[in-house]
Symmetry: C2
Subunit: 379 residues, 2 copies
């Protein structure tokens, strides 16, 4: 907006993250992929963010017996990036203040809820029955990464999972995702260790038994919410974007990317309507609602994929078949994960295309397609 010549004031409910001692209650790192990168490019910040990120080319699956196997995200040259939430915010705020003369006010609350009264505002918030807790894997005594760095590590255990993303300081941030019921059934340090011994044995020496006990007993599992709303605008006065309009669960690594892509889309509608705010906001909202509702659903779905499907031989067969077809038909058979993370295919089209692939596959002779569909996306 500032780049377009608007005078911009920014009101932020939280304190200035650049001055914060610790950033509480939110994950330390974020997965940056194509949509987020393109938005950063629009404001000339892609390079600076990327140079502070760590590429992750594949999932590294940790089995219960301690063995590991990687699953590529896309082609060998494609990757998502682990970026530091604080560093990213610093880069954005510095640019906003100094490059674009945005005036920033922190610890100021705006009344988003007001929207609900001003217009026929459809709104849905849903907590999932799972919570999350963060743990840390420190660098080794030689100050090296304790696991291979360029992976998103996953310990998929069907009903729950742990993941780990690399940080620039060579630590990993682990996040344990589980039903609150299970969190609540594990109360003492001893129970926590026993649980990890049974389920994530290879992680204990990495996290450290004492560290694990201490973190587990002093932390509380945090909730995750999914929010859908519509429309996103009110006349020429208000537009809600990012988490304010569509908070999603973190399992597709698309929360930030979707929010940043919102900016690209709004920018296009401002171009189209020559800065006529009423038309641009209405156009943006109508265009963007189905896509953001689609990424909400995709993010829900991907939790099942991450914690469960990756353990299934059928899933892996389908994946390799998808990859093969992608090589043969690079423009028409793009795997779902690739569409979401490595292209700017509209999210709702990602779902539609995947359904089409499932249908074509099912009507062909390959039984893999018959068995491995994504009906859960149809909710």
């Amino acid at each position: 907006m500032a780049k377009r010549g608007f005078k911009v004031e920014l009101y932020e409910r939280r304190e200035d993250i650049r001055k914060a001692a610790i950033v509480k209650g939110r994950s330390i790192n974020l997965a940056l992929s194509v949509r987020g990168r393109e938005a950063l490019r629009h404001v000339g910040l892609e390079d600076e963010v990327v140079k502070n990120g760590i590429p992750m080319h594949a999932r590294m699956i940790h089995n219960t017996d301690g063995s590991c196997n990687p699953i590529l995200y896309g082609t060998k040259s494609q990757f998502i990036m682990s970026v530091d939430r604080r560093k990213l915010n610093e880069v954005l705020l510095e640019a906003a203040e100094h490059k674009y003369a945005v005036k920033c006010y922190f610890e100021h609350k705006l009344l988003q809820k007001q929207m609900m009264k001003e217009t026929l505002f459809d709104y849905q918030q849903q907590y999932i029955p799972h919570g999350y807790m963060e743990l840390t894997i420190n660098p080794t005594s030689e100050n090296l990464f304790a696991m291979p760095a360029n992976y998103l590590h996953i310990w998929p255990r069907n009903e729950y999972m742990m993941i780990a993303l690399p940080n620039l300081d060579k630590s990993f941030t682990c996040t344990l995702f589980m039903p609150f019921e299970i969190f609540n059934s594990i109360n003492t340090a001893e129970e926590a260790i026993q649980f990890f011994k049974d389920k994530f044995p290879d992680s204990i020496p990495l996290i450290g038994a004492e560290n694990l006990k201490k973190t587990y007993t002093s932390s509380k599992a945090l909730p995750m919410i999914s929010i859908k709303s519509s429309p996103y605008h009110y006349k020429d006065k208000v537009v809600i974007m990012g988490d304010a309009a569509h908070a999603i669960v973190p399992f597709y690594g698309q929360g930030m990317n979707a929010g940043f892509e919102d900016c690209i889309v709004l920018n296009e509608f401002l171009d189209l309507h020559k800065n006529d705010l009423e038309k641009a906001l209405a156009g943006y909202s109508e265009h963007r609602v189905p896509d953001c509702q689609a990424i909400c659903d995709l993010a829900m779905y991907n939790y099942i994929e991450m914690r469960k499907s990756v353990n299934s031989r059928l899933f892996l067969m389908r994946k390799s078949l998808d990859n093969m077809l992608y090589k043969i038909f690079p423009s028409s058979w793009v795997p779902l994960y690739t569409m979401v993370s490595f292209t700017r295919t509209r999210y709702h089209e990602c779902i539609a295309k995947r359904k089409w692939q499932d249908e074509v596959g099912s009507s062909s002779t390959s039984s893999i397609f018959c068995l491995y569909k994504v009906p859960y996306l149809l909710h």
Copy 2:
């Protein structure tokens, strides 16, 4: 609560309806059925409310050619009642203040939204794309009802409809339900009259052409919202009931009835847990959420039935078959409308039982069941 010995203070956002000049923005009459009556019986008010109500034994369908045909709601002895919103509130408030020593404070707002922050509160609000507008049919010059009184009159026109309920003063309150799009396409008094000539010709002499023009052009179509939430309680501190927990669209005439039944159910849980609020509220919430979500869905569904299905021969055949089976198996084949309006069968069981009827019917030889199911309840 007062009857149980609690000290009760009542905070009401609106003004005291007993002192209000006009009651704006809400329909004038409500349809009272079994659930509401039973709750009123618990506080000794059933008789007083019923004596001020007008029984409606059947729907009276008004066809475009001006002909009419009734469709019974249940057996000949079963009926719903048109009651006056204001009168009902007066009876309740008088009893609360004078019979049960409840202290009432009007124009005081409580922060329901606070719940959303205090607990993992799932919430969904949805506006339907239809609005409503009220019109009046005055008594005749001989001070008689202008149409047969003991009916809920319906002008079903597939995509929209008008209904009329009788009032004690021998007027009828008509409500026109239509997509906002259609409301917005009819702007002048002349367009309104033309529309009524085409669609509701027999209503024009009843409403009066001038009255119709004046009301249509001076009124605004009002929105309808459907709200689902869960849970309904927060510890032993808060419980939300009625519209605060589950606002529903008006098409099943169950909004008030469901809210009143909430009171019976809470009362039962207070009995069960001997006034232990924490247990009673948790029990109430767990028990009641699926039922109130079911009545939200049923109310949405019944709009389709009222404006569209009643025009279908198939619907009428299914209805008479249901009634026949009901006579043969009075305890196991209760028609859906009867379960909802004339029994206290839990709402979610009403849906389950109807689905079972559909299934049994479909697997039998009767093609009516194969053709007339209620798949729209499965959304």
